[in-house]
């Protein structure tokens, strides 16, 4: 069979029939800038940043939504392409308040990156000034419509990635807005606060309330880990500054969640910082608990176990391991019971 070929900036390039131009170029590691494109979802072609020139086509075409055709001649870096993309970035910059200095997303903003990449030196168009009011009537998500560029990534994520179907486009033309059913706050909607919309927002329109003011993107390092809640095993990035988690995001290409998290996985991390944490061994004395050293507490436990084994045999001791802690902890506990105490009375909550 003849290999499917198209011409990318004059160079013969293979593709799989059915691929979009963006997919075909990404497959060979060739970069076309995007903004609204969201992997695994239907392309919307909303932002016009991935425009390319195709021989024979009257207008520039969006690479994200144009299927490759055999022999198609595509140019990605012509002056016309460059100028149009730049113009589109300038229009987006005029669409709202994009004041990076005070924006939570600064340093992690696609629009900021594009403005820099296209060498925009001044704001060419006057900025819109009237915006829908901010919705922050919930504990987790701030919806600042003055920064929204209506790229639709949040809508694609909500409807196609997590399929919670809580938001869509509302109103028309310059009044258009990302709305919940009935255009109320998130709390009065189908929203389940998974925060996927925040994760995919390329600007500062959707930000995390709990992370606000905690750290600039460049001040954190990311540590990969596994979610401590249910048994799905979602892969997380813990964003850490000065040894503390400032926010949690999903590992985009991590199995099995592939970029998704739920409300507990994304926002339920700060229990570890609770003042109520147990911080020292405690021993009950005369009915009350008092603080003790590790040596004292461990000697007491080991001593009492030995005493009970001597008097009643090892089967008079029983233990329950923890299904939330790491494998190695459960391994050690069953080893303690079997090899040291001498009983198989070890169980955990799998049955309950």
């Amino acid at each position: 069979m003849k290999k499917a070929i198209f011409l990318l900036n004059g160079k013969e390039t293979p593709y799989r029939p059915g691929q979009t131009l963006l997919e075909a170029t990404q497959a060979i590691g060739f970069h076309i800038p995007t903004l609204c494109h969201l992997k695994e979802t239907t392309p919307t072609g909303a932002c016009r940043i991935c425009l390319v020139e195709i021989t024979g086509a009257r207008s520039l075409m969006a690479a994200c939504s144009t299927p490759v055709a055999e022999g198609m001649e595509v140019f990605t870096e012509t002056e016309r392409v460059h100028n149009t993309r730049k113009l589109n970035v300038e229009l987006l910059l005029a669409s709202g308040k994009h004041d990076c200095l005070i924006c939570e997303a600064s340093g992690d903003c696609r629009l900021q990156e594009l403005a820099y990449y296209y060498g925009i030196k001044e704001l060419k168009f006057s900025q819109d000034e009237k915006f829908y009011p901010t919705d922050d009537e919930n504990p987790f998500i701030i919806r600042d419509f003055s920064r929204c560029i209506r790229c639709g990534r949040c809508i694609q994520a909500c409807n196609e990635l997590v399929v919670n179907r809580a938001i869509s486009y509302g109103y028309r033309g310059k009044d258009s807005k990302v709305v919940t059913g009935g255009d109320g706050p998130y709390t009065d909607s189908e929203c389940v606060f998974c925060g996927q919309c925040v994760e995919v927002c390329p600007v500062g329109a959707l930000t995390e309330k709990k992370a606000k003011g905690r750290a600039r993107a460049w001040e954190t390092n990311k540590i990969r880990t596994t979610c401590p809640y249910c048994g799905v095993g979602c892969q997380q990035w813990l964003h850490v500054k000065d040894g503390k988690i400032t926010k949690v995001t999903a590992v985009e290409d991590g199995e099995p969640n592939m970029g998704r998290l739920c409300v507990k996985g994304r926002f339920g991390y700060d229990f570890i910082y609770s003042e109520e944490r147990l911080k020292t061994p405690l021993i009950r004395e005369n009915g009350n608990l008092r603080e003790a050293s590790w040596d004292e507490a461990l000697d007491l436990v080991a001593g009492k176990f030995k005493e009970i084994i001597a008097a009643h045999g090892p089967d008079a001791i029983a233990g329950v391991s923890c299904a939330r802690s790491i494998n190695e902890d459960s391994y050690q506990m069953q080893k303690l019971f079997r090899a040291v105490i001498g009983t198989n009375n070890i169980d955990h909550c799998a049955r309950t």
């Binding site: 695994e40 596994t226 809640y229 507990k264 790491i326």
Partner: protein
């Protein structure tokens, strides 16, 4: 799970029974919903109209505890209408004749009378399932938390084998496991009958192997007791010392009043935890432990995937990693253990002694982890089990199963069924989620979810405080009148101490697994004056 979460997003036919995964396993549900909006067919079997039903082609609202009768009815249709996978059954399974004899006792009309759905719906389910191969079956605690939990699970397996669905991508029998590392705790042998890697304690070779590994003369051969027996043992004195690591038994076990009586009778109770809980109130010694993100290690997920967990910060105060605490106790009892980190424990012990995890070493877990069995260092892991119906144990066993009713059914005094489960915004007894800022704002108290019909019958308004009582206890909670719940059912969770469903639940257990029947007991509701 026999299969992987990646299959959820690719499956063509999905059969969900006893799983409210949109709340208990939200990301798994998202993957499944992606498959459905992409054209997959979805059948949801659940007494409640859970939110997954919004996307389902068919909702089968069976009565609580009627699963075996319903599944036998479906299999009856598969056999009588000749819709089952004969080739698969002949070559991959055994026991078909016995199964056939049993399910022929459950014609759709009889199954319908027990399960409360129509015979026509049962036929519809069977025909739909037979039309697409493979179908993927998922279940959660709606299947297991019954006195017939084992039978429910075997019925799910029967159905999938009869349809020839086990051993293929996007097929299989897939229990969604509740806790982040409940799979791992099983894999590690925190069970009374098996060593790490499911090697049985009553097998002399296994005992010999572990005795050598752990440098001890001998290991106990008699399987140990399970949690309910441990708790009862505190009362009758069979258990003198009870070591509870990271469990809040005082809230999670059925019949709280009785459980607390047992815990308060303990001669010596050691609790090892990250927070004071309702259970630590009874402890004689409390050992403060490191939490998630405070030590390196691994979790094993539902899909048998061993994933890395990494350290962000040191535990607070004097709190220490759990593995260290166990090692220190062992030392004080005369045993010096070599491993001095989670990695050393895994690389030098777990993967040495558990053949199904022999190929898993920390160095191989940097990114996506590995799904066991991973028998060698070259092996890439196993995304689904029993490939092409070649069962690891030989032939798949089709087991004839009879339906039995729940241990406690409604009567004149307690005319309603209470079923329990989890809600989205909290996890179990809220030791973690209750201390994570914001989640209490989204769900701040327990409710009793009741149907519109029962609300009308008892004259109860949505949001009104009501009493729910069973033979074991009484709680006062807010009524949540909802279309999710059918008439005759009260549905509650156990996230809040006040109004915890476990003041009411029935400590009746599956005879094999000792899993409690959290999903069914009899209650009455009262309008408060």
């Amino acid at each position: 799970m026999t299969n992987s979460f990646a299959d959820f997003a690719k499956a063509k036919m999905i059969f969900v029974i006893g799983s409210n995964m949109t709340e208990a396993h939200p990301v798994a549900a998202s993957l499944l919903k992606m498959a459905v909006i992409g054209g997959a067919e979805l059948i949801v079997v659940d007494p409640r109209r859970t939110s997954l039903v919004d996307l389902a082609n068919l909702h089968v609202p069976i009565k609580v505890g009627s699963d075996v009768a319903f599944l036998n009815g479906v299999m009856n249709v598969l056999i009588t209408e000749d819709l089952y996978d004969k080739k698969y059954v002949e070559s991959c399974t055994m026991g078909f004749e016995e199964l056939k004899k049993k399910v022929l006792e459950y014609p759709p009309e009889r199954a319908a009378a027990i399960s409360g759905v129509s015979a026509e719906m049962i036929r519809d389910v069977a025909r739909r399932l037979a039309a697409v191969h493979p179908a993927m079956l998922m279940y959660t605690l709606g299947i297991t938390e019954h006195i017939c939990g084992v039978n429910n699970v075997m019925s799910c397996a029967n159905l999938q084998m009869l349809l020839g669905n086990v051993g293929f991508e996007c097929g299989g029998v897939n229990p969604l496991r509740g806790q982040n590392n409940v799979q791992g705790a099983c894999d590690m042998g925190a069970l009374p009958n098996v060593f790490p890697g499911y090697q049985r304690v009553d097998n002399p070779q296994a005992r010999e192997k572990f005795a050598a590994a752990w440098k001890v003369e001998k290991l106990p051969e008699k399987p140990g007791i399970m949690i309910p027996q441990m708790i009862e043992g505190l009362l009758d004195g069979k258990v003198k010392a009870f070591y509870v690591f990271g469990e809040n038994l005082a809230n999670t076990e059925p019949d709280i009043r009785h459980v607390e009586h047992c815990l308060s009778s303990a001669e010596f109770l050691v609790c090892q935890d990250i927070f004071p809980t309702e259970t630590t109130r009874f402890a004689h010694v409390i050992l403060p432990a490191a939490a998630w993100s405070e030590n390196d290690g691994t979790f094993s997920s539902s899909e048998r995937r061993v994933n890395r967990v990494r350290t962000v910060s040191a535990p607070p105060g004097e709190a220490r990693p759990n593995w260290w605490i166990f090692k220190e106790i062992a030392k004080r009892m005369g045993h010096e253990w070599e491993a001095n980190s989670a990695q050393e424990i895994w690389d030098n012990e777990v993967s040495q002694y558990a053949p199904s995890m022999a190929g898993i070493k920390y160095a191989r877990l940097e990114k996506n982890g590995l799904q066991w069995p991973v028998p060698s260092l070259e092996h890439e892991g196993t995304s689904f089990l029993h490939k092409e119906g070649c069962f690891t144990c030989g032939l798949g066993v089709l087991a004839p199963i009879d339906w039995i009713p729940p241990a406690e059914v409604p009567d004149a005094d307690y005319p309603l069924v209470l079923s329990t489960g989890r809600r989205l915004y909290h996890y179990h007894t809220r030791t973690q989620t209750g201390r994570s800022q914001g989640l209490n704002e989204l769900l701040g108290e327990e409710t009793a979810d009741i149907s519109e019909a029962d609300a009308e019958k008892y004259g109860i308004e949505h949001g009104e405080m009501i009493a729910v009582k069973s033979r074991r206890g009484r709680v006062v909670v807010k009524a949540n009148v909802t279309r999710q719940v059918p008439e005759g059912l009260v549905w509650m969770a156990f996230h809040f101490r006040e109004g915890c469903a476990n003041w009411l639940t029935n400590p009746a257990y599956d005879p094999i697994t000792q899993t409690a029947e959290y999903k069914a007991c009899a209650v009455a509701i009262e309008k408060l004056a």
